[in-house]
Amino acid sequence: MLTRLRNLGDRWLGRGNAAITVPVMDGALKPNRGLDEATVVAELAGIDDLASDGKDLWLSAGAELFRLDNGQPVPVRRFDADISALAVDGKGRLAIALAGKRVQIVHVASDGVATDGESLDTVQGQALHCVNALAFEPDGSLLLSDGSQRRGPGQWCHDLMELGNTGRVARWNPQRDAKEQLASGLRHAFGVLPFKGGALYSESWRHSVGMARGRLEFMHELPGYPSRMSAAASGGFWLSCFVCRTQLVEFVLREPAYRKRMLEEIDPRYWIAPALASGLSFLEPLQGAGVKQMGVLKPWAPPRSYGLVLRVSDDGRILSSLHSQVDGKHHGITAAVECDGALWVVSKGSGRLLRIDLDQAETRV
């Protein structure tokens, strides 16, 4: 009763949970043009995820698996469904999530011949629905994040607008076929990483990164919606944020009746919701300062889409960041991995694979 009254008061006064504020991007999060100035290696429609074992870089675009050869993506194999996540263990094994519903192990021989191995489609009796990130652990087990039990990987925005909280993180040992659910009831799990003997996961709609055991919060109040993570050679990890928070979206997320009607009546392309790319149509909603003046969009305008990669230390501090601001072109970052002295970044919004020298990427503040 008291909580209800407090919530009502907060809503009226615009305080507490109803404050509708977003974290400021300053300090190590100070905007730069790091992503916009990155080298564009390739343009691939539907490019989504990256995986590296330190030697080779693998990438997925739609249903196709690619390997980077002489700096250019070379098709390796086409699957019967879109690849929604990718991982490689450095011992000739690839893990590939297909349409979010099945995880397939693929053995790649030294001569490049690929053969299918074990597969997984349920954990704890529940079918996989939205597997969006995979990561091998040192013992050969596979960590996976299943973003939602209701919406598939392509419908993340629906899941956000419905305040989805059916995500989970699981561990699967393909050799022993041992499955373990590490955390459930997550608000869109989207990213896993073996870390200090445990598992880190990112929870997009809570803007946080947590440890699976005990669900301890490792990073919180991020300015964007976190997605996949990858280990950094010099300690810590890289975290991509596929969209950024804005006050307008935070406000919409507090208005259930409005959201319900919007979901029912409006074309999803024009929802007041974040997007992987924007500026494609004049029908898109804009927030306050986002209005174009003389055809120029201010870089600091509230973003509908944004590009953000964070370099995070072992203790959860943000050390540096790479940005593509509102007026930039490399938005919707879904993956960032180190390989061969460079940071490789997928901008799903623009359908591009980007390359940044590791030294530059590390020091960009």
């Binding site: 400021v24 300053d26 190590a28």
Partner: protein, 510 residues
């Protein structure tokens, strides 16, 4: 290098209505302006620009008779005058409109206009009619029967201007007239200034907004550190030249030394301010403060810096509705009184030490001990004079507070030592976040160095330090990151290694 421009033989120029020659004004021996030459022509709009502390206000106060000159000459219409009161200045046709208007808020507009000029048998209706006619002659849309307290800032300015014109002022000085005006009100004001010019009135105005100076003025004078830098026609100025003239200090000759090449690594985000709103002063302000770093906050007066951090420290309250959030170590906090903030480890060292910083009739030790009592969570407790003495002794030694004896009253100390006592009063609370608001204002050079050393020591010890300063070299010398505030919010962040004086000033005024 500075340069002086004079437009012809000033004393012979019949158009010159006001002239200052080698004007010097010293406060307690410290020059606020030194050897300043200035001329004002009939029907001229003359902008006076400079950083905070450049001597603009002192110069205009000298002209308006608020303070007398220490040395030098002042000529009005070619005759030398010595003005010691504003009334004398008014008799010479000089009126000053202060930023904070000097109207009586409980009186009507008409009563304010004729205040001091009332006839023996005064009819209120007659006063209103006269005021109405006079305001209409100036094209001022102000109701003479309205109570002044109910008027907006622009209308108050109009009444103030009308009063100046009514007193037959031929020279009107405006001190930051647009600081509290909305864009629409500013347009009003600009129209008024042009109308005054048409009537042959000479106008001097102080402004931090370069656009206004470049739009309104016929001539621009820039002061820096109490010295005249340049006077020239508006057409020969652009923004870059004005900024260069305002900040073009030779760093090697100042206390603040060379450009910073090392920046402390960023620690945990201790304090986060999000979308903070406080009346018209703080507008959707957001910023973060990190442990182990000095966060410098620069901005012109009225940029909302002090108000933001006073909200953080619980000294003033944010807007009741949708006032934004303050997060301390990730947890939202809202302090009703400053004591709660002190207990949470936030210390605010005030910019106005005489009013808010210390108890002037108490001793150094007692003042420092008051800081400790402020943190105490006991409702009832005893005051230990022995402990007060020990604490006072310890901190006086640590901060090198120089006094004849420990029992001397704080009011008897120099500005620098007073400031050290105020700092000690906060540091004794062992805060994690320390906010220094203008830490070296009115402090001598030696004490500045010691205070800076203490601020650096705190950051090196891992504390989150905020330094609010209107003095650009100070911000640049101390800060690891510099936030620039303008019109109630932080607009730009610089790393100390990337920051330039011109860049910061441009962000603050553009």
């Amino acid at each position: 290098m500075t340069q002086n421009h004079h437009s012809g033989p000033v004393s012979q120029d019949a158009d010159i209505v006001l002239e200052l020659r080698q004007a010097t004004k010293k406060y307690s021996g410290v020059p606020a302006i030194e050897n300043v030459d200035f001329t004002l022509r009939r029907g001229e709009i003359h902008a006076l620009l400079g950083e905070n502390g450049a001597g603009k206000s002192t110069l205009t106060k000298v002209m308006a008779g608020v303070v007398p000159l220490s040395s030098g000459q002042m000529l009005v219409h070619g005759k030398e005058v010595q003005l010691v009161t504003p009334l004398q200045a008014l008799h010479h046709g000089i009126a000053m409109v202060f930023q904070e208007t000097s109207l009586v808020p409980t009186m009507t507009v008409a009563q304010n206009l004729f205040l001091g000029q009332e006839k023996f048998f005064n009819r209120l209706r007659g006063v209103y009619i006269s005021a109405q006619q006079f305001l209409q002659s100036l094209n001022f849309d102000v109701d003479p029967t309205a109570t002044v307290s109910l008027l907006g800032a622009a209308k108050k300015q109009m009444v103030e201007i009308a009063r100046a014109v009514l007193h037959q002022a031929s020279i009107i000085i405006f001190d930051e007239p647009t600081a509290s005006l909305t864009p629409e009100e500013k347009k009003y004001f600009f129209d008024l200034v042009f109308k005054l010019k048409e009537r042959g009135v000479s106008v001097i105005f102080i402004s931090h907004a370069l656009e206004e100076a470049l739009l309104l003025a016929d001539r621009i004078t820039v002061l820096r550190d109490g010295h005249h830098v340049v006077t020239d026609q508006k057409s020969s100025f652009d923004r870059a030249r004005v900024v260069q003239a305002m900040v073009g200090r030779d760093l090697s000759q100042t206390l603040y030394g060379q450009k910073k090449t090392f920046v402390r690594p960023q620690g945990e985000c201790v304090l986060s301010v999000r979308n903070l709103r406080m009346a018209s002063m703080v507008k959707n302000n957001s910023l973060s403060v990190f442990a182990g770093q000095i966060t410098g906050v620069f901005g012109l007066i009225g940029a909302g810096r002090t108000e933001t951090f006073k909200v953080v420290a619980g000294l003033i309250k944010r807007d009741f509705f949708h006032g934004g959030e303050v997060l301390l170590r990730g947890k939202p906090v809202r302090y009703r009184v400053a004591r709660q903030a002190v207990r949470d480890g936030i210390a605010y060292v005030t910019e106005d030490r005489k009013v808010e910083g210390f108890f002037e009739t108490m001793s150094i030790a007692q003042n420092i001990y008051m800081g400790l009592l402020g943190k105490s969570d006991k409702t009832f407790g005893t005051v230990s004079l022995a402990r007060a003495s020990a604490v006072g002794e310890h901190w006086s030694r640590l901060l090198n507070v120089r006094a004849i004896s420990r029992n001397v009253k704080v009011i008897e100390l120099s500005g620098g030592n007073q400031q050290k006592v105020v700092i000690a009063k906060s540091l004794v609370q062992e805060p994690e976040v320390i906010i220094f608001d203008e830490p070296t204002r009115g402090v001598d050079v030696g004490a500045i160095a010691e205070i800076h050393a203490e601020i650096n020591r705190l950051a090196d010890a891992g504390k989150a330090v905020v330094v609010i300063s209107s003095y650009l070299p100070e911000v640049m010398a101390l800060s690891d990151r510099i936030l620039v505030a303008k019109q109630g919010k932080v607009v730009v962040e610089f790393s100390a290694t990337d920051a330039t004086q011109e860049g910061i000033m441009y962000a603050a005024i553009h």
